[in-house]
Symmetry: none
Subunit: 198 residues, 4 copies
């Protein structure tokens, strides 16, 4: 009796959801939560604003979901480097390149906006504050320790090294995110000097 079978329906829904998500990441990343109008997302996704609300209950919910996804994605990226071949410093080089790679930027922008904007549910901010940097440090600690023992990485408190290094990367992503120009993304080799032993 059903005019569209279960599967077709499911497919449409998934397509639309993805359309919306892609559009939303793009707009949110550029403009933040306050600067983003639902109508912008709808326009970017090529649908009516009403349809957004078939898929997401509210702007807040949509943003929150994206941030959570972004955090999972960031952590996965962080973890994945252990599977890579090479010495610690080479792994860090690979990670650095992946982070600064254009495709990853929107996720970091999302997290940045989540941290600094107003309209974000307190719940999300706490989630980010607690999770974020500490979780990343946790992940990278073994790698940096190895690097220090191997003499590839400068001495000093490894937690501080990691958080400093990640802060630099985050900052670069934020200022570079909008292609609006002016800033320059340093070469990876330059960035590695922050932590690499000469």
């Amino acid at each position: 009796m059903a005019p569209l079978n279960e599967e077709q329906l499911h497919q449409i829904r998934d397509e639309r959801r993805d359309q919306i998500i892609v559009a939303a990441i793009k707009v949110f990343a550029r403009r933040g939560i306050i600067g983003t109008k639902m109508s912008m997302i709808a326009a970017e996704a090529g649908i009516s604003h009403g349809l957004l609300y078939h898929y997401f209950t509210s702007k807040e919910e949509l943003f929150t979901m994206l941030v959570e996804d972004a955090m999972v994605g960031a952590e996965e990226a962080m973890s994945s480097i252990y599977d890579l071949p090479g010495s610690p410093i080479e792994k860090i080089r690979a990670l650095t390149m992946e982070i600064l790679d254009e495709s990853g930027t929107p996720y970091f922008m999302l997290i940045h906006h989540a941290r600094t904007s107003e309209g974000v549910p307190e719940k999300v901010k706490e989630l980010i504050d607690q999770n974020d940097m500490d979780a990343f440090i946790e992940r990278l600690l073994p790698l940096f320790r190895d690097g220090q023992q191997a003499g590839e990485i400068v001495d000093g408190n490894p937690e501080e090294l990691i958080s400093s290094y990640l802060s630099v990367l985050s900052g670069l992503m934020v200022v570079n995110a909008q292609g609006i120009g002016g800033y320059r993304l340093p070469e990876v080799d330059m960035l590695l000097r922050l932590i690499a032993r000469p």
Copy 2:
């Protein structure tokens, strides 16, 4: 019945203007142009929101003026290091500390917001894009060249070095500006490794 003479009135005007400017920098820097409500600035300045409009025609005008001032101020800071004693790298160290110093942050945040926000007249954005980084490079070029010749600074295209270095500093200011935590400001010595010869 004439309660205030010309001069006193003038003085009040200037005082009020300054109050507003200080308050506006503070709020704009933290929240950006969209996230800032005129009422917030008024509250921060301790005046009524109506009075704002005696001094500035609009939110946009106020923001624009602050950005322009900030750019002048940043350039002055840049220039002033030539008056400092010490080797090139020591001057850069001093500049770095000044930039990252809390008091300077709002100006950079303003410029950052001007670059990335919507409500800003295109005219201002262009002004910033073209002026900003190039002007800074111009200023610092002699210093970096000296450093390279003295063997204190790594080889390579000095313009790229400068813009990379300033991009890192800008990024750090942006992610650190809100005291919201998570990020860590690296030590100056660590940052200097980006450009200093070992």
Copy 3:
């Protein structure tokens, strides 16, 4: 391949229509025309909201039709008491119980909402206003006259007696309709004191 013959289709149509009508009465009676969403009716009827529009052109049309039906039904109930045995006051007692009986309430609520809501076409309101009470008075007039002559009913203008009595009953239905509590449905004997000679 012709899976259903004319008659079966017709039967389905009628069944669906009835499902919708029953559901709509229930929801409209409780929540009024504004408070009722088409999706509520669809859910109550166990069908999709899209299907509603195969059977009724609009919410307004559906509501209007129900009200008209309700008025016919109410008038029939009014008339039927003449077939009952017993003295006038006993007939009125029976009518009172039937009206206040839970099953009859939705119809009166519908009429009440039709009278007081906005979305209802003015045409329907007028219909109700003119028809409603006067038609009922017409129907009951012989009964009340008989009762007065038999000394069972208090003296006075019978039209006024009837409309007052019916107003009391209507009011009680309205305030009791939602089981939300607080109000109490008086005993029939108490209500009859409004018109019965002691």
Copy 4:
């Protein structure tokens, strides 16, 4: 320095508040909380809708406040009859007339809507459910007991008598509230027969 002194300001505020309250009661009473648009209240009060929000945070808050006020007012009306001269039944007659008087109707409509509508904060519904009828019964109990002892009021559980009687009055107000006609407000003497000993 202040352009309008404290007192003038206060007066304006009070005037506006009252304007709004009067307008809101009128519109809410007629159309309920869902059927009432803020723009209707603004129009009725002769102000812009924006100004409503200088005085009340939200539609819900406005409605809630009115209901609370109405309940206080209703209780005061209830209590005041003890100050009246006359026998119990005469006091009840006076109360009945006051309740049914046109000026009191909006308050009861408000309470009615609060009880039956959807958009009402659960908090208010509970407040009403618990308070409302029981509080009224409490107030009137001594009076009805006196009346029964004096032989003016019929025998039977006085709480039930009171709640039945008040339910009848409430119902009449609801069906009569909109001047839309059809219904008839019974004479006080007729209503008193519900409880008065012949």
